[in-house]
C-alpha cells in the first residue's frame, strides 16, 4: 500500500449492495484507472455506514465529502470533478437537515449531525476499513487486545475486566457477560466452547449483520479472548444462511487470521490455541434461542431444551459453552484496550456502554445508529432519526421486535436502558426500533408480530405452539370486524398463561406486542370490536371506500373497477356500492382528483 492521496469509501453493506453499490465500486475503479489515478486514489469497499436511508453512500477522504443516493451515472461526475479537480460535487452531497441551514451540505463526514450524535464503539470500524483486508483491521488497533491478553493478562484478569465493564448481553437477554464467562471458566474442562449467536432473526434488525459485513475481525478477536478467559480452544459462529455477504466476509476473515497466525495453534507464540468454525442456520427464528442453537449445531432438530442445565455448564455437545451475541463480542477488544472503567463511564448505573439500534418504519433517517445507554428515546427519534416523514404525528415505537412492546409519546423522555424498557412493558431486545405514526393501526401491528411468532414457533410446548395460534385467530377476527368484547379478556388470559408457562423465550415473550398494545391502545381495540372501525384506516375489512364531492365525473374509477360496483354518469357524482365493493383500492389510486377516501 503506497501513500494514496484520496480514498473513496463505498458502502458494501447488504442495503447499499442491493442498490448496486458493487457496480458503483466497479465504475470508480474503471474510471480511476482510465484517468491514470490508480496510484493516487484508492477505491475501497467498506461496511455499513448506518445512514441506510441515504444509500448508496460514498465518502471521499480526506475531505470527508459525504455523497449520498449515488447512482452509477454520478460516478463519472465525482471522478472528473472531485478526484481530478478537487471540486466537491455539492449537488450530490447529503443534505444534513439536522444541521443549521448554513451547514447543511455534508462536506465533512465527521461533522454530519447524524454521526456527531452517536458514539460508535461496536461500529467503530464499520465504514472505515475494508473488511476483507486484515491489515486494515490491524491498522486500527486490531488484534492488539488479543496480544495484550495473551502476553500481559491472566484469564482471571480478563474475566475481571469484562465484569467491571458492566457489559451485558446485547442479544436481548441482558445477562452480565463477565458473570456468564466466569460460570464457564469455573466449570471443569478439558473441552469447552465459545459460541457466537449470529442468527439475528428479529424482523427489521440488522445490527449483527452490519458488524459481520463491516468488521468481521472484531468478532474473531473477541471470541479468541473469550476462549482464553474461559479455557476454550474452539469457537462456533452460528450465522443465519440469509446473510450470504456476512458469511463470505467472515470466511475470508477467518482464513486471513489463520494465515497470519492470529487463529490456530500457539497464537503470538504463546501456548494458547483457538480455532473457529462457521455453522449456517436454516431459516428458523427459534434457533436464535441459545439451547435451540446448541441443538442445531449438534445436528438435532432446533428445539429449545430446559434450563438448567445452563450452557455455561452444559452446552454444545454437553461441554461448558459461552454463547454471546455478535454485538456483545464486538465491544470486548475495546474494553480490554481502553480499560473497563472507560466502558463503565458510559451509560446508566445498571446498563453500561453503548447499544446499536436499527431504526426502521416511519422515520426519516432509517438505518443503524449507536448511542450511549441512557440516551433519551425522544433524542433518538426526533434528533438522530430526524423525526417522522411527511410531517405525520408520532404514535408509538416498537422496541425488541416480536418479543417487545410499544412505547408511546408519553414515555419518550425515558432514558434507554434494559430495566426502564421492561418497566414500560417492552424490552431492549436485540435493538430493533420500528417507529409508527398516526397511519399505523396498533391492532394490526400486534397481529403482524404475532403472525411472525406463530410461524416461527418450534412446536415443542403447548402454550406457544397452540396458544399463539389461537391469539392470532382472535386478532384476525378483530381486524376483520368479527370481534367481541370478551375477546379482549380471552386475549389477556391467554397471554398471561402463555407468558408464564412457555418453555423458552420465544413463547414467553410472544404475547408482549399484544399485551403492550392493549395497555396503551385499548380504545383502538374497542373501536375495532364495538364500533367496527379502524381509526388508523388500515384494516381493509373495516373500511369503506367513499367518493366525495370532489368527484368530477371523469368515470375513470368506474372503468377500472374489477367488480363493476361504481355507478355514475359523465360529469356526475359517482357512487360505490359498499356491499359489492371488494376493497381493492384500484379506484382510489386511479382517481386524478383525490376524490375517493377510505373511512
Amino acid at each position: 500500500m503506497s501513500l494514496f492521496r484520496s480514498h473513496v469509501l463505498i458502502c458494501g453493506g447488504t442495503g447499499c449492495t442491493s442498490s448496486s453499490s458493487d457496480k458503483i465500486e466497479e465504475r470508480f475503479k474503471e474510471l480511476v484507472a482510465e484517468q491514470g489515478l490508480d496510484q493516487e486514489v484508492m477505491v475501497v469497499r467498506t461496511g455499513c455506514f448506518g445512514l441506510c436511508e441515504e444509500g448508496p453512500i460514498c465518502i471521499v477522504h480526506p475531505e470527508g465529502s459525504f455523497y449520498s443516493r449515488v447512482k452509477i451515472e454520478d460516478v463519472d461526475t465525482i471522478v472528473s470533478e472531485h478526484l481530478m479537480k478537487g471540486r466537491v460535487v455539492t449537488s450530490l452531497l447529503y443534505r444534513d437537515k439536522l444541521a443549521p441551514p448554513e451547514h447543511q451540505l455534508a462536506t465533512s463526514f465527521s461533522e454530519v449531525t447524524f454521526y456527531k450524535m452517536q458514539h460508535r464503539v461496536a461500529l467503530k470500524n464499520c465504514g472505515v476499513i475494508n473488511p476483507e483486508v486484515i491489515e486494515e483491521y490491524i491498522a486500527y488497533d486490531g488484534y492488539k487486545a488479543l496480544g495484550k491478553v495473551l502476553t500481559e493478562m491472566q484469564p482471571a484478569d480478563v474475566l475481571d475486566a469484562v465484569k467491571k465493564s458492566g457489559l451485558r448481553g446485547r442479544g436481548g437477554g441482558g445477562f452480565p457477560t463477565g458473570i456468564k464467562w466466569e460460570f464457564a471458566a469455573k466449570t471443569e474442562g478439558p473441552i469447552k466452547y465459545i459460541g457466537c449467536n449470529a442468527d439475528e432473526g428479529d424482523p427489521g434488525a440488522f445490527m449483527d449483520r452490519s458488524i459481520l459485513e463491516g468488521d468481521p475481525h472484531c468478532l474473531i478477536e473477541a471470541m479468541a479472548i473469550a476462549g482464553y478467559a474461559t479455557g476454550a480452544e474452539k469457537g462456533y459462529v452460528y450465522i443465519r444462511a440469509e446473510y450470504p455477504i456476512a458469511v463470505k466476509r467472515l470466511k475470508i476473515a477467518i482464513e486471513q487470521a489463520k494465515e497470519h497466525g492470529l487463529l490456530g495453534r500457539n497464537i503470538f507464540g504463546t501456548d494458547f490455541s483457538f480455532d473457529m468454525e462457521i455453522r449456517l442456520g436454516a431459516g428458523a427464528f427459534v434457533c436464535g434461542e441459545e439451547t435451540a442453537l446448541i441443538a442445531s449445531i449438534e445436528g438435532e432438530r432446533g428445539m429449545p431444551r430446559p434450563k438448567p442445565p445452563f450452557p455455561a455448564h452444559k452446552g454444545i455437545f454437553g461441554k461448558p459453552t459461552v454463547i454471546n451475541n455478535v454485538e456483545t463480542f464486538a465491544n470486548v477488544p475495546q474494553i480490554i484496550l481502553k480499560g473497563p472503567e472507560w466502558y463503565a463511564s458510559m451509560g446508566t448505573e445498571k446498563s453500561k456502554g453503548t447499544k446499536v439500534f436499527a431504526l426502521g418504519g416511519k422515520i426519516n433517517n432509517s438505518g443503524l445508529i449507536e448511542i450511549e445507554m441512557g440516551t433519551k428515546l425522544r433524542h433518538v427519534i426526533e434528533d438522530i432519526g430526524g423525526g417522522i416523514p411527511k410531517g405525520k404525528k408520532f404514535k408509538a415505537v416498537q422496541t425488541g421486535g416480536p418479543s417487545g412492546g410499544c412505547i408511546t409519546a408519553d414515555h419518550l423522555d425515558i432514558p434507554i436502558d434494559y430495566d426502564n424498557l421492561i418497566s414500560l412493558g417492552s424490552m431492549m431486545g436485540s435493538g430493533g426500533m420500528i417507529v409508527m405514526d398516526e397511519d399505523n393501526c396498533m391492532v394490526d401491528i400486534a397481529r403482524f408480530f404475532l403472525d411472525f411468532t406463530v410461524d416461527e414457533s418450534c412446536g415443542k410446548c403447548v402454550p406457544c405452539r397452540e396458544g399463539t395460534r389461537r391469539m392470532l385467530e382472535i386478532l384476525d377476527r378483530i381486524t376483520e370486524g368479527k370481534g367481541e368484547m370478551e375477546d379482549i379478556d380471552k386475549l389477556e388470559r391467554l397471554a398471561k398463561n402463555i407468558k408464564s408457562s412457555s418453555l423458552c423465550g420465544l413463547g414467553q415473550t410472544a404475547p408482549n406486542p399484544v399485551l403492550s398494545t392493549l395497555r396503551y391502545f385499548r380504545t383502538e381495540y374497542e373501536a375495532h370490536i364495538v364500533g367496527k372501525t379502524c381509526p388508523a384506516g388500515v384494516c381493509q375489512a373495516l373500511l369503506t371506500y367513499v367518493i366525495t364531492d370532489a368527484c368530477k365525473g371523469c368515470t375513470l374509477c368506474k372503468k377500472v373497477c374489477p367488480v363493476g360496483c361504481i355507478t355514475g354518469e359523465v360529469k356526475g357524482l359517482h357512487h360505490i356500492d359498499p356491499d359489492a365493493c371488494i376493497k381493492c383500492g384500484a379506484c382510489m389510486s386511479k382517481c386524478p382528483f383525490n376524490a375517493i377516501i377510505k373511512k
Binding site: P306, S457, C461, R465, E466, R469, N497, S501
Partner: protein, 348 residues
C-alpha cells in the same frame, strides 16, 4: 439433606432431585403428559408447572431441580389456570369423540379435563387434519389426536434405539411421522409397540380385533413366554379372552416389550391352537388324554433308544420354556435317555 417447603409443609429431601420427584415422593398429585421416569425430562407439555417463590414465572417441575430452601406451591390459582389453559389449547386441536374413542377410561387428557373442569370449546379455530397412518400391521397412528408430548419419539430414541419416528415441520403444523413422510411400513420401525404403550392419548393405538372398554377388562400380570428375558406384562382380559397387552415396569424389561410380547397374543385364543394332545389313530389325528399321549411318547423314545441307540435321539428346547423346564429336559435326556444331543432355539 436439604429442606424444602411444599404447599406449606417443610420436608427434608435427599438431593439431587427434580421438584416433580420431590412432590411425587411426598404423595402429591402433579399432572404430566410428557414425563416418564425412564426418559430424560423434556418439559414439553407444561402441565407439571408449579409456583416457586422468587422465580420469574411458573416452572416445569419435571425439569427444575429442587434446591435447599425452595418454597414450592403445586396448586395455586395461577398454576391451576395455567394447566387449564394448556388443556383448553389441546382440546382446540383435538377431536371431541371420547364417547367412541378406544382410549376412553385410560386417557390422561380425559382424566385431567375432568379433574380441572375444563371448557373444551374455549377456542374454536383451525384444527390439524391428517390421514390416519394404517400402514403398520399391529398399530395405527392417528395424528388428529396427537398432543405432541413427544414420548413416542423419546422412547424410540432413548430406550428402543431405533429412532423410527420423529417430529416434522414446526409450529402449528408440527406432527409425528416417519422420515420423508413415507409411512410406518417404509421406515425402520420394528413394531415393538413401545410407542403405543407410552402414548397418553388415543393417537398411537393397537389394532385390536376385539372392541372393548377398558373398564370391562381386568389386568393379569404374567411373564412373557416368548423368550428368556422374562419381560413382565399385564394381559388385558375381557370375558376370559386376552384382548390387549401392556408392559409392566420391572427390572427385567423396564416397561418395554418387543413385537412378540406386545402384539403376539392372538395365538392364545386362536381356533387352530391345540388344546389337547392328539394321536394318529387309524390314520386320523384324534384327541387323547395326557396320560395316553405321554405313555405313547415315552414308549417310542425307549423303543428308538433300544433299537437304534441313545444318540439317535435329540432334545430340542426353546426360550418359550422356563429355565427350570429347560433344566429338567436336559436332565431327562442326559440321565434318562442317555444322550448329550441337546439344542435350543436361541442357538439356531
Amino acid at each position: 439433606m436439604a429442606q424444602v417447603t411444599l404447599n406449606g409443609n417443610t420436608i427434608h429431601v435427599d438431593l439431587p432431585k427434580t421438584i416433580l420427584q420431590v412432590a411425587e415422593e411426598a404423595g402429591l398429585f402433579v399432572p404430566t403428559f410428557c414425563n416418564d421416569k425412564r426418559l430424560v425430562p423434556n418439559g414439553a407439555c407444561r402441565m407439571c408447572v408449579v409456583e416457586v417463590e422468587g422465580a420469574r414465572s411458573l416452572v416445569a417441575s419435571c425439569t427444575t431441580p429442587a434446591a435447599d430452601g425452595m418454597v414450592i406451591n403445586t396448586e395455586t390459582p395461577a398454576v391451576i389456570d395455567a394447566r387449564k389453559s394448556v388443556l383448553e389449547l389441546i382440546w382446540a386441536n383435538h377431536p371431541n369423540d371420547c364417547v367412541v374413542c378406544d382410549k376412553a377410561g385410560q386417557c390422561k387428557l380425559q382424566d385431567y379435563t375432568y379433574r380441572y373442569e375444563v371448557d373444551i370449546d374455549a377456542f374454536k379455530g383451525a384444527k390439524r387434519v391428517s390421514e390416519v397412518d394404517q400402514s403398520n400391521k399391529f398399530f395405527y397412528n392417528d395424528q388428529n389426536k396427537c398432543i405432541l408430548c413427544g414420548k413416542c419419539v423419546r422412547v424410540c430414541d432413548e430406550l428402543q434405539n431405533t429412532s423410527a419416528i420423529g417430529f416434522s415441520e414446526r409450529g402449528f403444523h408440527t406432527h409425528i411421522t416417519h422420515p420423508f413422510e413415507e409411512g410406518m411400513d417404509k421406515s425402520v420401525c420394528v413394531s415393538c409397540g413401545n410407542c403405543v404403550s407410552v402414548c397418553p392419548v388415543g393417537a398411537l393405538m393397537p389394532k385390536s380385533k376385539e372392541r372393548f372398554r377398558n373398564w370391562e377388562a381386568k389386568k393379569v400380570q404374567t411373564t412373557c413366554s416368548y423368550c428368556g428375558v422374562g419381560c413382565q406384562m399385564n394381559l388385558i382380559v375381557k370375558d376370559n379372552k386376552v384382548v390387549d397387552v401392556e408392559p409392566v415396569n420391572d427390572h427385567s424389561n423396564m416397561g418395554l416389550l418387543c413385537v412378540k410380547g406386545k402384539f403376539g397374543y392372538s395365538f392364545i385364543d386362536h381356533p387352530d391352537r391345540l388344546r389337547k394332545p392328539m394321536l394318529k389313530k387309524h390314520g386320523v389325528l384324534t384327541e387323547v388324554e395326557w396320560d395316553e399321549a405321554l405313555d405313547f411318547v415315552a414308549g417310542k423314545i425307549k423303543q428308538t433308544r433300544d433299537v437304534y441307540g441313545a444318540d439317535t435321539l435329540a432334545g430340542l428346547v426353546s426360550a418359550r420354556c422356563t429355565n427350570e423346564e429347560n433344566y429338567l429336559m436336559q436332565k431327562l435326556f442326559r440321565a434318562g435317555v442317555g444322550t448329550n444331543n441337546l439344542d435350543h432355539c436361541a442357538r439356531l
